[in-house]
Amino acid sequence: MVVQALAFYAFAAVLISAGIMVVVSKNPVHSVLFLILCFFNAAGLFVMMGAEFLAMILVIVYVGAVAVLFLFVVMMLDVNFTELREGFARYLPIGLVIGVVLLIELIVLVSGAIPIGKASGPVAKAIAKQPSGHNTEMIGRLLYTDYFYLFQAAGMVLLVAMIGAIVLTHRRRDGVRRQSIAKQTARKSSESIRVVDVKPGEGL
């Protein structure tokens, strides 16, 4: 239990401080890197809660794709971040108010002032039906059997997204010199190398 608690506090502390660093660091590239650190620690917390599937998704999707995309945007586009930062002081009060409201909500929830009842009616029935087991396995079982149709349909949606991205952005440019692998491999040493007898003192 002690190890678990220590791990929890370690993950949580790094998560929160990395989160703060995302907001305050001057260099946007550092912000993105701290964001990635956040995701890893959140994934650690998920694993501790027994939600290993969410943890994997967080690492694969958010770190592997979304954060890398952010990094690309930050590095490729010339966004002036000092300008973006100018409104910071102006929006600070509103941000603080929202933060305080969220904090109060959390405190009320944790203090137990509002009793959190058990699910009743149809919801309770739906929860009771859930079989136990590793959640990755359970999701896999459902996805490829009961929800097979939706799985396939979601695949079609992704296909459309891919076609759409290509149709709307891909342009054929003229004068691009492409690598021709066939030509490259068809070259023989006899065509491309010749031995020249260079006389000393004369050069070619």
Partner: protein, 482 residues
């Protein structure tokens, strides 16, 4: 849970269409240049084949649920899907000449239409809130892309972006509503919901239902969720606009019917009041806002908003006759709209598209046949007997009166009188003003054929109104059989 290939027979058309779209995509990539035209015709062929398959596998009577009750097939879905497939095929054919001339002929266009059609078919067959959403998203995503298909034009890109942003908002509303419904009932399945929900449902269910209706009303561009329609219709390439006005409207309306009648059948009293407001708003807006429009695409956009209002009258009646009136109305609307847009696609002068109503001036003298057909479509939309449009309106008003929704019917009649003004203004421009400049004549045989067929349907609908009514009645009977 597993299933065999024969068990999922009702979904064969969808599976075929998905495979055809993917196969043609690969073919298009390998063919490289000049693939657009052949891929388009092959796509039309695929749509026709899907339609035939659809008729072959239709379950006779009753409803068949497959894929763990996520997918449903019956006479109703078959009827609607055949109309959608036809409208999509016509949409591809209408785009051929336009895309060539405007230099946007790319093979992805027909494939995106195929995938949009697949999405529509999945919407129509949805038997669960999740499959509803996935189908809707497949359809919408394809439509966003083809709205912006002419990517070098600012207007087309704007149309695509506007449609995308507002569509995402509508999807969000729909999802929020679905989550409320799931939270308060414990199921997303239509059969289950129909069992659990009764007339005195909790407030959470009703809030969820209203949000789902908002999402669907957006898709059929009914008041007050219509604001995207005129801009998107004006900005998108004209054949795309023609497609938007036809097939997706049919699919969304069918989905509207099946959602309200199926899982929420016991909550008629609740959704009826919402629908009555939406219907009145759409009819009035469609009538009055169109008067000041000079661009014919915008005008037809407002006209389609109005038409959705009339169709919703039938749905708000909450009776079987009302639902079948919606199907009749939508079928007729489909043909009229396709015909009118086939004429709009012919409006070219010196090789460039013109879109103003005044460009039609004197068309009766320069191209009498096309003017006569356009006049026919306009008279029909205005609801003048004995043309098809009259029957559409007649059946929905009849259903409203039988359901004792007198005010709705009266407002509907008044709004259609207002709408008749701008339809007749187009006819007047064509027949009673002097031609300014001639429109181009070589429009290609596809468009004239489509105009002629649509014209014949509108003119002779009175002769085969009876079988069409029977067919819709049968469709609704199978939908409500549970």
């Amino acid at each position: 849970m597993g299933f065999t290939f024969t068990e999922i027979m009702p979904a064969w058309p969808e599976i075929f269409l998905a495979c055809a779209a993917m196969g043609l995509l690969v073919l298009g990539v390998f063919m490289k240049t000049g693939a657009a035209r052949s891929i388009s015709w092959l796509s039309v062929l695929a749509l026709v084949a899907t339609g035939i398959l659809e008729i072959v596998v239709v379950p006779d009577g009753g409803r068949v649920h497959i894929f763990n009750q996520l997918f449903v097939a019956d006479v109703f879905t078959t009827f609607v899907k055949c109309l959608i497939l036809g409208a999509s095929a016509v949409g591809i054919i209408m785009s051929l000449g336009y895309n060539d001339r405007e230099d946007i002929a790319r093979f992805e266009f027909p494939i995106l239409i195929l995938l949009a059609t697949l999405g529509m078919m999945m919407m129509v067959s949805a038997a669960d809130l999740i499959s509803l959403y996935v189908g809707l998203e497949l359809q919408s995503l394809s439509l966003y892309v083809i709205a912006a298909f002419r990517r070098d034009s600012v207007k087309s890109s704007e149309a695509g972006l506007k449609y995308f942003v507002l569509g995402a908002l509508a999807s969000g509303m729909l999802l929020y509503g679905s989550s409320m419904i799931y939270g308060f009932s414990g199921s997303t399945n239509f059969l289950q919901l129909a069992k659990v929900l009764d007339a005195d449902a909790s407030a959470g269910i009703i809030v969820g239902l209203v949000f789902v209706m908002v999402g669907l009303a957006f898709k059929i561009s009914a008041f007050p969720f219509h604001m995207w329609t005129p801009d998107v219709y004006e900005g998108a390439p004209t054949p795309v606009t023609a497609f938007f006005a036809a097939a997706p409207k049919m699919a969304a309306m069918a989905l509207f019917i099946s959602v309200l009648v199926g899982p929420f059948g016991n909550l008629v009293a609740q959704w009826q009041q919402v629908l009555v407001l939406i219907a009145i708003g759409s009819m009035l807006l469609g009538g009055f806002a169109a008067i000041t429009q000079s661009n014919i695409k915008r005008l037809l956009a407002y006209s389609s908003i109005g038409n959705m209002g009339y169709a919703l009258i039938g749905l708000s009646a909450g009776t079987k006759d009302g639902y079948s009136a919606v199907l009749i109305y939508m079928s007729i609307y489909l043909v009229m709209t396709v015909g009118a847009f086939a004429v709009v696609l012919c409006m070219r002068r010196e090789g460039r598209m013109v879109e103003e109503v005044k460009d039609l001036a004197g068309l009766s003298k320069t191209q009498p046949a096309m003017a006569a057909l356009m006049a026919l479509f306009m008279f029909s939309m205005a609801g003048i007997p004995p043309l098809a449009g009259f029957f559409g309106k007649f059946y929905v008003f009849l259903a409203a009166i039988e359901a004792k929704l007198y005010i709705l019917a009266i407002i509907g009649v008044l709004a259609s009188v207002v709408a008749a003004y701008y339809y007749l203004r187009i006819v007047m421009t064509m027949y009673f003003t002097e031609p300014v400049e001639d429109l181009d004549r070589n429009v290609g045989p596809e468009l004239s054929t489509i105009q002629a067929i649509a014209g014949a349907f509108v003119l002779f609908f009175i002769l085969f109104a009876e079988p069409v009514v029977q067919m819709t009645n049968q469709a609704i009977a199978s939908l409500t059989s549970g």
